[in-house]
Every structure is written in structure tokens, then in C-alpha cells.
Amino acid sequence: MTLGRGEGNPPSAFDFGKYLDGLFGYALVLSRNRAEAEDLVQETCLRALGAMERLHSESNVKGWLFTILRNIWLNELRRRRTTPEMVELDSDAKGVIDPPDTSKDPHAIYVGELVREQVRAAIGQLPVEFREVIMLREYEELSYQEIAAVLDCPPGTVMSRLARARSKLRELLPRLATTPPSQEKDEGRNGEAVA
């Protein structure tokens, strides 16, 4: 017979699982150091647990977690008063286990991982403010308003940075980022596409 729940009922554990990949990726592009990224994520979760009662609704959890992580990173930078160590992302990515995609054949998985590594390397060459917006928008699908809240800047600035970040990425990934759709086009004498 269930007659309600008492106020003394222990709360269930908060499930960070669905946010961990994104938090780790964001921490990695910020810190460019795997061990540091893991510490950032763990500290973020710890701080979030301590401040859970301040969360107003389920809808802003993701942006809130990324904001916490970024603030921890900024505080760490201030504490050290040094610029982040420039480490090749490829070396950081060693040991990172990507989720196996059992729906694809081994060749497709191998090719996919090559592409992913090239994209990681390209993003790693961007300035940190570009890396942030690319991760938050293209991978975490936060809205411009949510990204603006995380970065503490106007939404217009977010859009501007994203446009410039994408432009830079297109330069760094010329072959991969210019694959046309499967539909063939007619080309004019000068090689220009004809509508």
C-alpha cells in the first residue's frame, strides 16, 4: 500500500552518464590534456552534486554542467597563471576508447576513425574560443542562447565566432569538408556548376 513518500526518503543517484562524453570532449578541447580533462569532468560532477538543489528544471542541466566545467577550468588557469600546455591532441587521444560501431564493417570503422582523428586534429588547431563554440554547437547541439550563457557572451558573438570557426575548419579540412552530395551536377565549360 503506497501512501506517499516522506521527506526523509534518500534521493536517487544523479545519472551523469549521458553527459559524460560531451563533458569529456569539451574538457579535452579546453585543456588539451587527457588527465586534466578527466579531473575537470570529475570535479564538475562533484560540484554539480553539491549544487543540485539550485537546478530549476531538467531542461537546463546540460548547459549548467558545461558552465560549471568551464568555470572550473578558468579558475584553474587563473590559479596557475600560465597558458595551457600545447600538446598534440593525437597523443592525448591515445587510449581513448571510442564506442564500437557494430553496425559497420571493419573497413568502415577504420575509415570512420581516420576521419574522426583528422577532425580532432583540425579542431585542435583552432584558437580556444573557436574550439569551444564548435564543440558546444556542432557536437553538443546547445542553442545559441545556451552557448552564450556558458561562454558569458551575447548570442550574436556566438554566431559570429561559429561562422569564423567553421570557415577556418573548411580551410583545415579541404578534402573532407567539400564532399558534394551524392546527386550529380552538370558542369559548365568553365567548371562552374550550373543550377
Partner: protein
């Protein structure tokens, strides 16, 4: 082509403005919004109408679309290591268990022990006195918590019986008179510091209910608001006291396990009392009806599928 005054359509109907911006400059800005499906109505029409006349902008759009496809197919870009996942999960579980904050009645004793065992020069004398004391304390530690709980449970039973006596004697002021479990549930909302809900009937009553819900009263237990629900039937009157398990304990009497619950059958002041705790709430069902005490459980179970377990059979 000049823009109409006050117009804010996209893209502006001009080749360039005073700042030298062109339609293509504004088109570049709009691409992101277009890819986000954020352009609507006239803005979308203007955007699409520019494409056939500008190869550069078409190429720009195609490149942006290709980049979006590339980035999205590499999701997730990174995966959190399994060891990190395990650590975070352990941290989350650890922090979900409330740390007991109840004051220990033995803190003063422990402080006394610490002081005497660490004070130089007096250590030997202290050990002669304190070791036997520590042994006695260890025995007490094993017994006292249970004793304290028994005392608390007895206090709860006594309070429930007292409220029932007032109800039977007509001295209890019912804050609500209603036969509807939903109305009673709604009435308690915000009045008690816990989520209180009376069960509703699982099925249509086959016979006339043996006990009828009559009303509710807001009472206090150990200074905290508690819920009292009253019932009447041909066999007698029944009351149900519900309080937070933070202030009320249940223990003692004849313990009967039923499913995951432990019911405690007691008597107090001539009344039959059944207590149990569930989901952080302590319940005390008090009755003066004849027959098995569990028959009073019919106040809630008489309209449930398991009603037969509580029926009094001749």
C-alpha cells in the same frame, strides 16, 4: 535597389550599403541560420531566391552543408574513458546517500576518552580506569540505540492512541469532513511536510464498504505536523495517524512480515494499534473493533484486490 524604410527583411534589397556590405556578406551570415532551419517566411524566400543568381553563394552553402555533414558524422568526437565513468558513477552514488546528521549522545563520552588517553603523564592512570569503562560502553552502544528506538516507537503509539481516544470521545475537531480519498489527499497538500496520499479504490466495491472514510484532522507529533484520517463502520471507529519517519519511529509488539513491510501489532489504552513505516513515513492504525487487529486494515484494503486477506471470516 533600395530597401523600403523600416524594412528588416533578409537579405536587404541592395547591392551594397554605406558600409560596403553586399548581399553576399549578409548571405554568409544567414547560412548558419538556414542550416539551423531558423529562417522562416520572407527571410527564407529571400535567401532561396538569391541562390540561383550567385554561384559563389551556392558554393559557400554547399561547403557549409558538407562541413556540417562531416562534423555530425564524427559524433561523438570523444568518448569518456570507462574508468572515468566508473569514478563519476561511484561519486554520484556516494553523494546520493544522506549523511546522518543526528547528534550522537556519546560524543561527550568519546571526547572524554580522547582527552584522557592523550594527556601525557596521566595516560597510565587513565587506562586503568578507562579500559573497563570502554568495555562497558561497548556493551551499551550495542543495546542503547535499540532501546532508544523502542522508547520512540512507544511514544508514537501512545500519541496515536491519544488522538484516537479524542476521536472516539467526540473531542477531536475534524478539519475536513469527507468520504473521498482524493479530497482528503488534496486537503493535506501543503499542510504536512511530506507527500501524503490515500489510496483510491482499485475496483468497484463488491459490497457495502465495511468502513467509511469520515474526515481528516491536522495534528502534531513532536512539534511537526502529522495527518490523522478517521473512519467509521458498524464494528467501530478507526483512525490512521501518519507522520514523518524523521520524528516518528515504529518498533516493538508482535512483528509480522507482509511483503516488504514489517507490521507491529500492539495494544495501548485498550486500543489495538498497528504500526509500520514505508517510504519515509510512519503509520499508526488505531481501532477498538472486535476481532483480529488486521481487520482494521480494511479501511484502505476493502476496495483493493487483496481485500479477502483482511476479511473477518466466521
Amino acid at each position: 535597389m533600395a530597401n523600403a524604410p523600416g524594412s528588416e527583411e533578409f537579405p536587404p534589397r541592395r547591392n551594397n550599403d554605406n558600409n560596403g556590405r553586399t548581399i553576399c556578406d549578409d548571405f554568409a551570415v544567414g547560412i548558419l541560420r538556414y542550416l539551423d532551419n531558423d529562417l522562416k517566411g520572407n527571410e527564407l524566400d529571400e535567401f532561396r531566391s538569391h541562390l540561383p543568381s550567385c554561384a559563389d553563394c551556392r558554393k559557400h552553402l554547399e561547403e557549409e552543408e558538407a562541413l556540417s555533414r562531416l562534423l555530425h558524422q564524427t559524433r561523438p568526437l570523444y568518448s569518456a574513458p570507462a574508468a572515468l565513468r566508473a569514478r563519476v558513477s561511484a561519486t554520484s552514488i556516494q553523494h546520493s546517500v544522506p549523511i546522518p546528521v543526528a547528534e550522537s549522545p556519546y560524543e561527550g563520552v568519546f571526547q572524554f576518552l580522547r582527552e584522557h588517553l592523550t594527556r601525557p603523564g596521566k595516560r597510565l592512570l587513565s587506562l586503568r580506569v578507562l579500559v573497563p569503562a570502554a568495555l562497558i560502553l561497548a556493551v551499551c552502544l550495542a543495546l542503547v540505540p535499540d532501546t532508544v528506538r523502542q522508547v520512540q516507537a512507544a511514544s508514537y503509539v501512545q500519541s496515536a492512541a491519544e488522538e484516537h481516544r479524542k476521536y472516539v470521545g467526540g473531542h477531536l475537531h475534524l478539519g475536513l469532513q469527507s468520504s473521498s480519498p482524493q479530497v482528503v489527499t488534496a486537503w493535506f497538500a501543503g499542510k504536512v511536510p511530506f507527500d501524503f496520499r490515500l489510496p483510491v479504490a482499485e475496483s468497484a466495491p463488491q459490497n457495502e464498504p465495511k468502513y467509511k472514510l469520515t474526515g481528516a484532522a491536522l495534528v502534531t507529533y513532536k512539534g511537526s505536523p502529522a495527518a490523522l484520517v478517521t473512519y467509521e463502520g458498524q464494528a467501530g471507529q478507526i483512525s490512521l495517524l501518519v507522520a514523518s519517519a524523521k520524528s516518528a519511529a515504529v518498533a516493538g509488539g508482535d512483528e509480522i512480515q507482509f511483503g516488504k513491510l514489517t507490521f507491529h501489532y500492539l495494544t495501548n489504552a485498550g486500543y489495538r494499534v498497528i504500526t509500520w513505516s514505508n517510504h519515509g513515513l510512519a503509520y499508526a492504525l488505531v481501532s477498538s473493533v472486535a476481532g483480529p487487529a488486521k481487520a482494521s486494515c480494511l479501511v484502505c484494503h476493502q476496495n483493493m484486490a487483496d481485500r479477502d486477506k483482511y476479511q473477518m471470516h466466521p
